[in-house]
């Protein structure tokens, strides 16, 4: 359990291993995540409302087929979790000194952030499964077994993209209030762009930008993952672009991240 032991007058003081620190942090962060009503709404309520609402009345025909409804619900969930929920939670804890308090313990600093990421990825995993189950049971949209697995994996990749965007935002913007405003401003274009990747209704330039935006790439990948379109060169391009976005924004977010309030 411990790696460095310093005997001190009959008692020993030891630095726990990074794995035991990570375990303890994960337990606390999971508890905190489950108790945050905003995060629960962003994680589950919003995607499910969209999933159901886009199938009501004439909306279904206008907005697209069943696969589009699922991918839209997942995209909204992922953008909400990554760019709004995650970045706000990090900024708030930074402002109030939570991170500095954790950093004076022997836990390596990276475990503090990795724990947060793992909890967010877990939330995305649960959200994706819930959306797919609701789609199958209550909305009547079913996929082949391998497509379910593929869709969940793509959702996890998408969450990495949007978490890294959230990390970049929280790295570049010092104040939680400014970050809140910026997150809301980014939210609309990130989701909006994902809607027009397959349509030239707003012109070919918008279509091109939309298709290769983080949300557009995710839409392309989800569509292929669900079997609505064939896996193609564009799918590979979207996969590489998503990986590139993740790396780029993660580097920006880690490079400029400050643990304490500036």
């Amino acid at each position: 359990m411990t790696d460095d032991v310093v005997p001190l007058q009959g008692r020993s003081v030891a630095a726990p291993t990074w794995s035991s620190s990570l375990k303890v942090l994960l337990r606390a962060d999971t508890t905190a995540q489950l108790r945050t009503s905003l995060s629960l709404v962003l994680t589950f309520a919003l995607p499910l409302i969209l999933l159901v609402a886009t199938g009501l009345g004439k909306n279904s025909a206008v907005l697209g087929g069943p696969a589009f409804r699922i991918s839209l619900a997942l995209t909204v969930g992922l953008v909400s979790i990554g760019t709004v929920g995650y970045s706000l939670a990090i900024a708030r804890d930074r402002d109030t000194g939570v991170f500095q308090r954790l950093r004076v313990t022997p836990a390596p600093s990276w475990t503090i952030m990795v724990s947060r990421w793992i909890v967010q990825l877990g939330a995305v995993l649960v959200m994706a499964i819930v959306v797919l189950v609701v789609a199958a049971v209550f909305v009547g949209i079913t996929l082949r077994p391998q497509n379910y697995l593929f869709t969940v994996l793509i959702a996890l990749l998408g969450s990495a993209v949007f978490l890294s965007i959230g990390q970049a935002i929280v790295g570049l913007i010092a104040s939680a209030d400014t970050l809140n405003a910026a997150g809301r401003l980014l939210y609309v274009p990130l989701i909006g762009l994902s809607l027009f990747g397959d349509s030239d209704r707003l012109g070919t330039t918008v279509e091109l930008v939309s298709r290769w935006s983080p949300g557009g790439c995710l839409e392309t990948l989800l569509s292929a993952a669900m079997g609505a379109t064939a896996w193609s060169g564009q799918s590979w391009g979207a996969l590489f672009a998503s990986t590139g976005y993740t790396l780029l924004f993660a580097v920006i977010g880690i490079r400029w991240f400050q643990w304490g309030a500036r």
Binding site: M1, S20, V104, P106, W259
Partner: protein, 262 residues
């Protein structure tokens, strides 16, 4: 209160020629100090004197420009995790995850120091600081005095040989302050050393065995509170500010100047 100090057996902390800079600004400029085992050592200084920066460097939150810090002969820069296991820290403004209950916060920090605490042990610890009934509440729901007591409990949960307290009694009423002094004295009686920063001359005189006065990043003088008065009572700058018999506050203002600091 300070007459029952245990005999000096060795150094708990050794700081040599410490420099900390924020860009062009030198916050700590060549600070050297030794803290003996079982000693309560106070750092006094006006705002911006470099007290918190000195503590932050010892805690590993700030990277010094140069100098060495040894905690029980463990080099803070070479072995940060081992060094952090040897210290308990109460930051100037501490906050914990707002979603966690008090008992969960105690469990989290005990875990981060590798101390396995059972549920009854957590409640016993909280009862000892008169927070037994507050175990299910959140940190933000506690009064200022309760928050300080909890912070001190967490700082000492792993029985560290050195405890660092940054303005531990600021904002407390006289009753809460006296209670906290008693706790600090009990910590010392259990064989630990304490380094605290304070603006309160009364606190320095009541609690500290030795006191250093800092100004503009440098330590100006070090001695027992009575020794400081004796050493500087004929200093013209001290006499100029004294109103009758020279006090520790007269020495402080005489050495650091009358101008306001932000």
């Amino acid at each position: 209160m300070t007459s029952e100090a245990p005999p000096v057996t060795g150094l708990a902390l050794q700081v040599r020629d410490l420099h900390v800079s924020y860009g062009p600004k030198r916050a700590v400029d060549g600070v050297s100090l030794d803290i003996n085992e079982g000693e309560i050592f106070g750092l006094l200084g006006p705002n911006g004197a470099g007290k918190t920066s000195t503590l932050s460097a010892i805690e590993g939150l700030l990277k010094p420009t140069s100098g060495s810090i040894l905690i029980r002969q463990v080099d803070v820069r070479a072995n940060p995790r081992k060094a952090k296991a040897l210290i308990g820290v109460q930051l100037q403004s501490t906050s914990f995850q707002s979603e966690l209950k008090i008992s969960e916060i105690v469990k989290l920090y005990a875990g981060l120091y590798g101390v396995p605490l059972t549920k009854p042990a957590i409640f016993d610890s909280l009862a000892e600081i008169h927070l037994g009934d507050e175990a299910s509440r959140r940190f933000s729901q506690l009064s200022g005095g309760q928050q300080k007591r909890l912070s001190l409990l967490i700082a000492t949960i792993h029985d560290p040989p050195l405890v660092l307290l940054d303005e531990p009694t600021s904002g407390l009423d006289p009753q809460a302050r006296r209670q906290l002094w008693d706790r600090i004295e009990r910590i010392r009686k259990s064989g630990r050393s304490i380094l605290l920063t304070t603006h309160s001359m009364e606190e320095a005189q009541s609690v500290c065995d030795r006191v250093a006065i800092m100004n503009r990043g440098k330590i100006l003088t070090v001695d027992t509170p009575a020794g400081l008065i004796e050493k500087h009572k004929k200093d013209p700058n001290v006499l100029a500010v004294a109103r009758g018999q020279v006090t520790l506050e007269d020495v402080f203002i005489g050495l650091t100047g009358r101008e306001l600091r932000d």
